[in-house]
Chain length 419, copies 2
């Protein structure tokens, strides 16, 4: 079973919006054994959308569109699909009723305006898919030849909600799978893509459909298998991941979508210890990443953003002589920051970052990208310096990853020592 995804919107072709919906849909469809044969993006133009939908229907018989269902006059997707399928537009009373109800629930006194009413127009014969997350409903439009067009709003939260609640069950019924498409991903960090590739080639192990996915967090290795039944596919993937774990050693930190922050929180939880942070160039990103994980409050207490040297000295107790002799970006400074924030908050584990994120501030000895991290965990400490690549945002994100990886390695090692 194959499907095409068409994302609609001038903003996509003009580059003002990044298309995250296609990726979401692809992952969800894979779980149903449905492959995305092709993705395309077209403008908010009735004729172009109609042509694209017709062509996709001819190729695969199944299309999901996103976008162009909003209340404004540039939203023409419903009209376009009605044209493509030769159907009339009619006002759906259930859509109007649900919109009024939703406005009341939100305490919204504003009556439905004509912009809202446009969103209740649907092609005749369409099944309305309830949108619990916004006002634009989705649509499921099937024809006698078992072809189907699914229309979803472009706002990611709304698209995701309708897809999971309404579309996925209908697709599973309409297209029962002959086999699944399953993937597992091993996440690595601190090792270059070409070095990884050489190690894997040298191992003599074969991995059908192994993808290298490099990013600021490191290189993810994804193994995919399709066509098998679920149990066989799972077994195959388990064996592949085990082999990759052996080849990548301590560089592998987690699987699938698990963030390194979550691994570090788990290590602290296992040790019964609490984490605090002291951040300079990252300005709060490390704390933000740790608290992005639901339930982090049992382990994470908080921290100090010490953007100025004065705050490093007064709030974290970094000595003025360290700052003068070694500079704010030095292992000595981050070690004192980590110790200082542990003392100040009465916590066992402290993670500290200081660096030069750029674009200014670099010197010959400490170029832009120079980052120092330190970790303190009860008696033990570690520190490291690296020159990270990328722009300001990427250097800051890589710095949080570097700090978290130092914490993972220290916490797992000193955990073993203590056993």
């Amino acid at each position: 079973m194959r499907i095409e995804v068409i994302t609609i919107g001038d903003e996509l072709l003009l580059g003002f919006t990044i298309d995250t919906n296609s990726a979401f849909l692809a992952r969800e469809l894979a779980e149903l054994g449905i492959a995305v044969a092709r993705r395309s993006s077209v403008a908010d133009n009735r004729d172009e959308i109609a042509r694209e939908v017709r062509a996709a229907l001819e190729r695969t018989g199944a299309v999901i569109t996103s976008g162009g269902l909003g209340p404004t006059s540039d939203d023409v997707s419903v009209e376009a699909v009605a044209v493509a399928l030769g159907r009339e537009l009619i006002e759906d009373a259930s859509v109007i009723a649900r919109m009024e109800e939703r406005f009341r629930a939100m305490g919204n006194k504003i009556p439905l305006n004509r912009m809202n009413r446009r969103q209740a127009l649907v092609p005749s014969g369409a099944e309305v898919l309830i949108n619990r997350h916004g006002t634009a409903p989705g649509l499921w439009i099937a024809d006698a030849a078992d072809r189907v067009v699914v229309m979803l709003p472009g706002v990611p939260r709304e698209l995701r909600g309708i897809f999971v609640e309404e579309v996925k069950p209908r697709l599973a019924r309409a297209f029962p799978a002959g086999g699944v498409i399953l993937s597992r991903t091993l996440r690595t960090t601190g090792i270059a893509e070409s070095v990884l590739a050489q190690r894997i080639a040298d191992s003599g192990e074969g991995f059908p459909s192994l993808a290298y996915l490099p990013g600021w967090e490191g290189v993810d290795l994804r193994v995919t298998i399709s066509g098998l039944h679920e149990q066989e596919a799972s077994q195959f993937l388990a064996v592949s991941i085990e082999k990759l774990r052996r080849i990548t050693g301590h560089h592998a930190y987690a699987e699938d979508a698990t963030d390194l922050a979550s691994v570090v929180l788990q290590e602290a939880r296992r040790r019964g210890e609490r984490i605090v942070v002291a951040e300079s160039c990252t300005g709060g990103m490390l704390g933000a990443r740790l608290t992005a994980i639901p339930g982090s409050s049992d382990v994470f207490l908080g921290g100090i953003i010490s953007y100025s040297n004065d705050v490093k000295n007064r709030k974290l107790g970094v000595s003025l002589s360290t700052l003068e002799t070694h500079g704010a970006v030095s292992e000595q400074t981050v070690l004192e920051m980590a110790a200082g924030v542990c003392d100040s908050f009465g916590s066992e584990i402290g993670i500290a970052i200081s660096g030069i994120a750029g674009p200014g501030g670099g010197t010959a000895k400490k170029p832009v990208g120079t980052v120092c991290v330190a970790v303190q965990a009860r008696g033990t400490t570690s520190s490291a310096t690296r020159i990270l690549t990328g722009d300001r945002d990427e250097i800051r994100r890589r710095a949080t990853q570097m700090a978290l990886d130092s914490a993972r390695l220290l916490l797992s090692q000193s955990g073993e020592v203590r056993q």
Copy 2:
């Protein structure tokens, strides 16, 4: 002039990577007066890539591809384009030389392996585009009929670098513009899309090609004009933005890509005052956003991440009776947090956030999404409570936006009062 963009990679169709390259290319091309006619994504499959490139060349005569230039065996884009154009692959000595030089400069002792060497294979007659940000070079492949295929690596940082440094000047020479495509965007926050649309409709003003771009930061309003010469286009846009500013009033906070954090820093700078933050549910995101702006260190001192109540009490001086009587998520608590962080750091402006980001922790009186923010600026304070929608990540991001907007309004108002 129209061009097609083809992004290549299994990971795009499987949904493991979000395509940010298409958006970048579209924006850059618009500046040259080149419109993206269509975007598509195909798998790492030689025949499918070759077919897609041939079809796109027939339609528009100009194609940019991204991805599939890496060192590993799943990277087949160069082979595919060679097939599509009927050219042989040859090893390019200049690519090998530059790769060796780059490895030396990075202090990398690892010799070039056969994975690296694959990246030096190019279709005969191709012009190699220097990649200063990685090892995979880009390619410019023109033919006698003035058709062109530009191949770029998929890693965003590398693609961006090669595009700006090598491709943009070549495109400007090859396809001199008959007119530009220009856009300007007015950014609004704190007002719903349908309310905005109704206000604009009621104003009686016409805006050709007005796009509503809703997101967690608010609704951006983008006006686009094409075909005119640069000066006329700029004048037209200036008039349009002025009209939109009148219609949207205090909801408009900036233009184009300017972040609200940057507006707040600028207000503080104008007043000669410094900013500190106190964050609970956002865990450092507000500090991270302020420090994402280069040069923020002249105004932003730092702050305290007070994830636990104990830290709110001991480090920020929030009274235990406030925490017991009103709870950690209350305007009383955030007002004390803002006052406490100003006192502790000796700063003039304090911004505080506390909320329930979910998925757990909600109650009937304070459901998930409840967020309180407070701002203190010398004598004046403001506070607000709202119920924000979305998942944990979205609620936290909306909370930072809400806090920054409160700061913007307070700083600009109290600035006026003092004049």
